[in-house]
């Protein structure tokens, strides 16, 4: 059975791939592909944020009693990343390649640090406190979001 770490880390890799495809399309100057890939990237990443913010973080918080701890920092970083999505979207809307690539560079740094913190710390802690039954429940709830 999947653990929280395994499941959520896969989501990170998936989002990384979509990010690279969107940025590569923009580097090639293919606006149509960049628009499409960026939409896929931001949709999937937003979905992953939602799985965390609405399902996994609350489960973690209620299992540990910590609401002002790591999950709060992660939520704040999600907000920062959403700001960069907006910057990339502006780049597409205004046909400004540099604005897009500047925002994507910033987003990548932010996203990779954030992912590392989640993978190396938060998910590991979550694996400890949300084992067995609880983990199955969390993963089921996340899959239910997809429908």
């Amino acid at each position: 059975m999947d653990t929280i770490s395994v499941f959520m880390t896969q989501a990170h890799h998936h989002c990384d791939t979509l990010f690279a495809e969107a940025e590569n399309a923009m580097v090639d100057g293919d606006w149509e592909a960049a628009t499409r890939q960026f939409a896929a990237f931001s949709r999937e990443t937003e979905h992953h944020f939602k799985a965390e913010e609405e399902v996994m973080f609350p489960a973690f918080e209620s299992a540990t009693g910590m609401t002002a701890g790591p999950t709060e920092v992660m939520r704040m970083e999600h907000q920062q990343m959403r700001g960069m999505f907006a910057g990339m979207a502006d780049g597409i809307r205004l046909r400004n390649r540099d604005a897009f690539l500047g925002a994507s560079e910033t987003l990548l740094m932010l996203m990779q640090q954030h992912n590392l913190k989640e993978q190396q710390m938060l998910y590991r802690m979550a694996d400890q406190v949300l084992a067995g039954e609880r983990c199955a429940k969390v993963l089921a709830a996340i899959r239910a979001l997809e429908e």
């Binding site: 690279a20 700001g83 560079e105 990548l108 740094m109 990779q112 913190k117 710390m121 938060l122 400890q128």
Partner: protein, 437 residues
Amino acid sequence: MRGTDLAGLAAVMQTTGLSFDQAPPISVPFRFFLTVPLFIVAASALLLWAGPSALLERHNPATLAIVHLFTLGVLSMTMCGALMQLLPVVAGVSIGKPRLVATLVHLNLSAGSLLLAGGFLWGWKPAFLAASICLALGFGAFFVAAGAGLLRVATRSATTLAVSLAVLALLVTVVFGICLALLRGGLAMDFYAPFAVLHPFWGLAGWVGLLLIGVAYQVVPMFQLTPNYPATLTRWMAPILFGLLILWSLAEAGNDVRYALEAGLAAVYAGFALTTLYLHSLRRRRQVDTSLLFWRVSMLSLSGALILWETAGLLPHGWRDRIELSAGILIIVGFALSAINGMLYKIVPFLIWFHLQSSLPGRHAVPNMKEILPEVWARRQFWLYLASFLTLLAAVVWSPLVYPAAILLAASALALWHNLLRACYRRREAGHAAPGI
């Protein structure tokens, strides 16, 4: 929930949880970064002044002075500054009183590097003694702040292991270095003699190499979206290198065992360089940014230095000094400086961006990383750097080139300084503009 779970969680939280949001004030790393170009300029000025005599052989006074302006004022300066920034974030090591520590390390390291260079140049004994005191204080503060934290880390990732070993190697380097400096300062001790061989090896193959390996594990996949380094490699490379260094230090000079150990060290470092170049070729990000160019030069230089080192025996004996000098330039100016320069172009704009967006309420006022430090400026500096590095290498063979090399090196450093200052100025600008809007 079972009691053991909670206890385990508490332990994880204690050692890592704090690092969720623990970056030190931005002035902590920046004072180091902004000082670095000045030391490169100082080294270039010395090179210009000493001329061809600086590239005759490695024990020449001017050469030793230039070497330490680099290894202390440039490499150790950035590496200590970057570690004070990265340790809390990457390894969960909290540094108490970061400003005080940063001030102590920065001032003592700066003064100590200059005094040591002066001591080498003019052979003035009190300068060696004063340098020893400054460097002992500066590195001492660093070891107490960072080393103590590193010892306490509970979950040791491949990166924290490599970084811990690098810091240990720095300790060895500094102890040997200070003994050698005291020797030159008039406090003669017979048993110091072998330290002259051990000291540079621990400095370059230990401190500098291990730290760059540990950092590469994290930043190569992260900046370029490459696959990770293979897990067996990250687990074993740094400990094996460290073990080889220890064995090498114990082996008798001129002995076959020692040559075998050197070959082993070279093989592991070659493995690192080739793996990194291979990972770069697999990167998912197609954009070629300046930082990537710097990393490639770094890895190619490392490979070049190793090839030179291993084939030195095949070349005519009269070439020995030239080979040693070229290997030194390839390692210090090629491998180490290039990677560091490239990394600054990621770390500095990101930190400024991060600082801005957390201190400014309106998100729109915040310029992105490439607005803070434009790619074209970084690219120009890269070409200057590359020209200076290659000219310096060529100057080992044809000495008049030392003059253009020194001028190019200074120009590259000033361009770097300009880029970093300009980025900091953007911070000011945006910071002032925001409240008025």
